[in-house]
C-alpha cells in the first residue's frame, strides 16, 4: 500500500512522522513495544557516539580516515531493523547504524577503520559482508546472494545500500536489472544524502527522483523520508516481505542528509553553504524520534543522559582495547590469498622474515 500511494515519480515522500515527531500516517505506525522503541533510539545514539568519538580520535591522530554517518541514523537503523537474523546485509561503507542492528561487534568496526583487515572478519552468524569501497560494486554481490537464495529455495532476503553518487555507476544498473530479471529477493536502498563527496545530488543525475529509476527495471520504487525511522522501517519491511514471498526486488530512495564531512579528510565548506547544513540539522533524525518518544512518554532525559554516558564509556574502552595493539602480523599479509599458500608466496614471506631478522 505504501508503494501504491507513493508513485516514485514526483516529489512525494513517504512519511509517518512529521518533522516535529507527530504521527501523520497512523495506519502505518509499526507496532513496536516500548523496549523496542528505546532499543532503536539507543542504537541511533550508539551510532552517533561512535561517529563523534571516531572523529575526535582522528583529530587526535589516533584514528585514520573515517566516514561518519551523522544524520543518516534513521535511514540505517530503521531499514536494518526490518531484517531477520538470517537476512543478508550488503553494505557500502557508510552504514554504521545498519551494522549495529545486524550485530557487527564494535571491535570489528574499530579494527576496520583502524586499518586492520580483521575488522572485516565478521563473527559466525553475522550475515554482513565487508565494507565495499568501489562505489556500487557491492550491489552485484547483493543480487548474486539473492539469486542464490532462489536457486537454493531459501527464504532469506538481502538488504543492500548505495549512495546517491553510486546510482550513476554501471554496476548499479546491472545489479538492479539482474535482480529484476531473476526476481532476486533484494531490497536496494539508496542513501540519498544529497552529496557524493562534493557533487550535489541534482548534478548526479537529471531524473527528478532517484526512486523513479526503478521504472527502468520494472521493479517497485519508493521515495521515503530517510530521517523518519518509522517510514524507513515500514517501507523496508514491505519490500522485504514482498521479496521473501517471491515478489522480487525493490528500490527505496531514502532522502536524507550527510550532516558531517564526507570523511575526516574532507572539508565540506568548500562545496556547500552552512545555511543548508543548519536547515538540515533541524531535521536531525535523532531529534525527530526523540520528540516522538518524549511525546509518548517513553523517553526521559535521565535515561538519555545515562545512556549517553554508558555508550561513551563502551566506545572509549573498546577503542582503547584495539589502539596500538592492532598491527598486522606479517604472516597475515600472505596467509589469506588462497586456502593454501603457493610456493612463491611462502618464499616471499620467508625472505622478508629473514630480512627482518637480519636486523635491518
Amino acid at each position: 500500500m505504501r508503494f501504491e500511494d507513493c508513485n516514485p515519480i514526483g516529489d512525494k515522500h513517504y512519511r509517518i512522522l512529521d518533522f516535529e515527531g507527530n504521527v501523520i500516517r497512523e495506519e502505518d505506525i509499526p507496532s513496536f513495544s516500548d523496549e523496542e522503541l528505546l532499543y532503536l533510539y539507543w542504537t541511533m545514539l550508539f551510532s552517533r557516539t561512535i561517529d563523534e568519538k571516531n572523529i575526535s580520535y582522528q583529530r587526535q591522530g589516533r584514528m585514520l580516515t573515517y566516514a561518519p554517518n551523522i544524520g543518516q541514523e534513521a535511514t540505517q537503523v530503521g531499514s536494518a531493523y526490518a531484517m531477520e537474523k538470517n537476512d543478508w546485509l550488503v553494505p557500502s561503507y557508510r552504514e554504521l547504524g545498519a551494522w549495529l542492528i545486524k550485530g557487527v561487534p564494535l571491535k570489528n568496526i574499530f579494527l576496520y577503520w583502524y586499518g586492520n583487515e580483521w575488522g572485516s572478519h565478521m563473527p559466525e552468524g553475522v550475515r554482513v559482508l565487508p565494507i565495499s569501497v568501489p562505489i556500487a560494486s557491492q550491489l552485484q554481490h547483493a543480487t548474486g546472494i539473492g539469486m542464490a537464495n532462489n536457486i537454493k529455495g531459501e527464504k532469506n532476503v538481502v538488504v543492500t545500500y548505495v549512495g546517491d553518487g553510486g546510482t550513476s555507476q554501471g554496476d548499479f544498473h546491472e545489479a538492479l536489472n539482474f535482480a529484476a530479471v531473476f526476481k532476486a529477493p533484494v531490497v536496494f536502498i539508496i542513501q540519498n544524502n544529497q552529496y557524493a563527496i562534493s557533487l550535489p545530488r541534482k548534478v548526479q543525475t537529471a531524473s527528478e527522483t532517484l526512486a523513479q529509476k526503478a521504472i527502468a527495471y520494472g521493479m517497485p520504487g519508493i521515495l521515503v523520508d530517510g530521517n523518519d525511522i518509522f517510514a524507513m522501517y515500514s517501507a523496508t519491511k514491505e519490500a522485504i516481505e514482498r521479496a521473501r514471498e517471491g515478489g522480487g526486488p525493490t528500490l527505496i530512495e531514502a532522502y536524507t542528509y550527510r550532516l558531517g564531512a564526507h570523511t575526516t579528510s574532507d572539508d565540506p565548506t568548500k562545496y556547500r553553504e552552512d545555511e543548508e547544513v543548519e536547515k538540515w540539522k533541524e531535521k536531525d533524525p535523532i531529534l525527530r524520534f526523540k520528540k516522538y518518544l518524549k511525546n509518548k512518554g517513553i523517553l526521559t532525559e535521565e535515561w538519555e543522559e545515562n545512556t549517553k554516558k554508558e555508550l561513551e564509556k563502551e566506545v572509549t574502552s573498546t577503542f582503547e582495547e584495539i589502539e596500538n595493539k592492532s598491527d598486522t602480523l606479517i604472516e597475515d599479509i600472505f596467509k589469506y590469498h588462497y586456502e593454501t599458500m603457493p610456493p612463491h608466496l611462502e618464499e616471499q614471506l620467508e625472505d622478508y622474515k629473514s630480512f627482518l631478522e637480519g636486523g635491518r
Partner: protein
C-alpha cells in the same frame, strides 16, 4: 570405454560430471543456457540440470562476475562463462577488486569457490576483440589463479580441479584448438593439479616453455629443429598463476637455454616473468639469454593480418636455433 573428445567437448563433459556430483554448481552467462554457448561448451547442460542451475543472463559481464561473487559467498559454486576473453574487461573491476580479494579482505571469513571460463587467443579469423590473450593481466593480480589447458585430457582434469578449488580460478580455453583434435579420455571424473606444469617432450638442448594453443606450434617447431639435431624439452605451463617454477627451473638448469613462446604481446607478457624467474633461480646455468617468441606489441590484427601475429612454427624454430647457436 571409448570417449574421444576434443577440447570443447571436454569442457562440456567436465561440467556434466561435476554438476552431477555437486548440486551447488551453477553455470551461467550469455547464451550458455538455451543455446548451449556460442561455442557449444555448455550444450545440453540446461536440459540435464534445469533452468535453475544452468541459465542465460542479460548482457552484462560485470553482473555475471559480480553476482557470482554473491553466489559463492552464499554457498554455491558458480562456473560462469564470459563469451570471449576480450569481453572480460567490463568485469575487470569485479575481478580485480572483489574476486581476487574477498578471502584476504575478510581474513578468510568469505571465500569464493568460483570459476570464470573464457575462450581466449587468436587465429580463428574473427572480428576485433575476439582474439585476445591477456592472461598476463590476470596473472599480475594477487588472489587469482589462471589456468590454460592445451589438450582435451588436460582440459577436463584441470577444469574439474578448478571447480573443486576453494579459490577463484580464471579458466582460459584456447579456442583456436577447440576442435583441432580428439583424445581418448576417461569418461568419469578426474582431477589434474592446478599449479603443475607438464613436460610434453623431454630434450637436452633447450627448454621451450609455452601454453595453450601454442603448445602444438612448439611441437611442430620441435620437429623442425630435431632434423637439425637440436632436441628441445617442451614444457606446457598449464597454470599461469601461481606458476610451477620448479619444473621449468629444473629443466633450464639441465639445458642451460630457454625460449618462451606465447601469443600475447611481448611487453609484460607472461614470458617476461618467466625470464625474470629464470634469472633469479638459474642464472649461473644460463648459456644464452632466455628468449621470447611472442605476438607483437600491437593490437591483434583483423583476419587479413593475423597470420603475421601468432608466432609460427617456423619463427619458433628459427629462434630455438638462434638461442642454441648463441
Amino acid at each position: 570405454m571409448a570417449n574421444k573428445l576434443n577440447i570443447v567437448e571436454a569442457v562440456n563433459q567436465a561440467l556434466m560430471n561435476e554438476m552431477e556430483k555437486d548440486e551447488t554448481i551453477v553455470v551461467y552467462g550469455e547464451d550458455v543456457g538455451v543455446e548451449g554457448g556460442v561455442f557449444r561448451a555448455t550444450v545440453n547442460l540446461q536440459k540435464k540440470f534445469g533452468k535453475d542451475r544452468v541459465f542465460d543472463t542479460p548482457l552484462a559481464e560485470s553482473a555475471i562476475v559480480g553476482t557470482a561473487v554473491g553466489m559463492a559467498i552464499n554457498g554455491l559454486k558458480p562456473v560462469v562463462e564470459l563469451q570471449f576473453m576480450g569481453f572480460s574487461y567490463p568485469a575487470f573491476n569485479q575481478i580485480i577488486s572483489h574476486v581476487a580479494r574477498m578471502r584476504n579482505r575478510s581474513r578468510g571469513r568469505y571465500t569464493l569457490p568460483m570459476v570464470i571460463r573464457a575462450p581466449y587467443g587468436g587465429g580463428i579469423r574473427a572480428l576485433e576483440h575476439h582474439s585476445e590473450s591477456t592472461e598476463a593481466l590476470y596473472a599480475h593480480i594477487p588472489g587469482l589463479k589462471v589456468v590454460i589447458p592445451s589438450t582435451p585430457y588436460d582440459t577436463k582434469g584441470l577444469l574439474i580441479a578448478a571447480i573443486r578449488d576453494p579459490d577463484p580460478v580464471i579458466f582460459l580455453e584456447p579456442k583456436r584448438i577447440y576442435r583441432a583434435f580428439r583424445q581418448e579420455i576417461p569418461e568419469e571424473t578426474y582431477e589434474l593439479p592446478i599449479g603443475k606444469a607438464k613436460v610434453v617432450e623431454e630434450g637436452e638442448d633447450i627448454t621451450v616453455i609455452t601454453w595453450g594453443a601454442m603448445v602444438r606450434d612448439v611441437q611442430k617447431a620441435s620437429e623442425m629443429v630435431k632434423e637439425k639435431g637440436i632436441y628441445p624439452e617442451i614444457i606446457d605451463l598449464r597454470t599461469i598463476s601461481p606458476m610451477d617454477r620448479e619444473t621449468f627451473i629444473e629443466s633450464v638448469k639441465k639445458t642451460g637455454r630457454a625460449v618462451i613462446v606465447h601469443e600475447a604481446p611481448k611487453t609484460l607478457g607472461v614470458g617476461a616473468e618467466i625470464v625474470a624467474i629464470i634469472n633469479e633461480k638459474a642464472f649461473l646455468y644460463l648459456e644464452a639469454p632466455p628468449t621470447r617468441v611472442t605476438g607483437f606489441d600491437t593490437t591483434f590484427p583483423l583476419p587479413r593480418g593475423e597470420k603475421h601475429y601468432i608466432p609460427s612454427p617456423e619463427r619458433i624454430a628459427k629462434t630455438i636455433e638462434d638461442v642454441v647457436k648463441f
